[in-house]
Symmetry: C2
Subunit: 111 residues, 2 copies
């Protein structure tokens, strides 16, 4: 078995109805993770290495895992890439106005 | 010096312009803390022991400290009570729609 497939294992995504608001807030409360979300709002699907964040690959993997397990992002493997999308419609349906008001406020704060 | 005044020290509150959105999100990402905020939205000023949460007093003090240092609540001493208010107007001014959309979503989620 290749090391990469051993290490990665299947990607877990909660169902939309299982997404917990407090997990989402925790996931968004970190500068790297909210930057990932902000980037995805402007650009719907990106490969993992293409986000404007400066952290080590293992740290970035951890941040993607927190976002994925909170239900904020969806990730899928395609060839040798892992592609990430925001679960924006599901989040908006479940928690109206939360994601957009938070990202708007973050953009305003950061200038 | 009385033990209580030694232990408590002065209460620190960030200025409105110093409130950081990510600290606010972290502060709200806990069930006890968001219950405190939800209670204050309905009832503007309460004494510390009157919130509908079931945690030990030392744990509750920690949760108030996290909320206070994030800029979510204001606390003042009056006689033998510590009175807590929500910094709702300042938060709404700085992060429009964030607090209310989060609390509305939490109320809807909890039913």
């Amino acid at each position: 078995m290749a090391r990469s497939s051993k290490r990665r294992g299947p990607l877990r995504h909660p169902a939309a109805t299982e997404i917990d608001l407090l997990d989402v807030l925790h996931a968004l409360s970190d500068p790297t993770r909210i930057t990932i979300v902000r980037t995805l709002l402007a650009d719907p699907e990106r490969a993992c290495g293409t986000f404007p964040v400066e952290v080590a690959p293992s740290t970035l993997s951890h941040h993607f895992k927190v976002l994925r397990e909170a239900g904020v992002i969806h990730q899928r493997e395609e060839a040798n890439r892992r592609l990430t999308t925001l679960r924006q419609a599901e989040l908006e349906n479940r928690f109206p106005g939360v994601l957009t008001s938070i990202v708007d406020a973050y953009v305003a704060q950061q200038g």
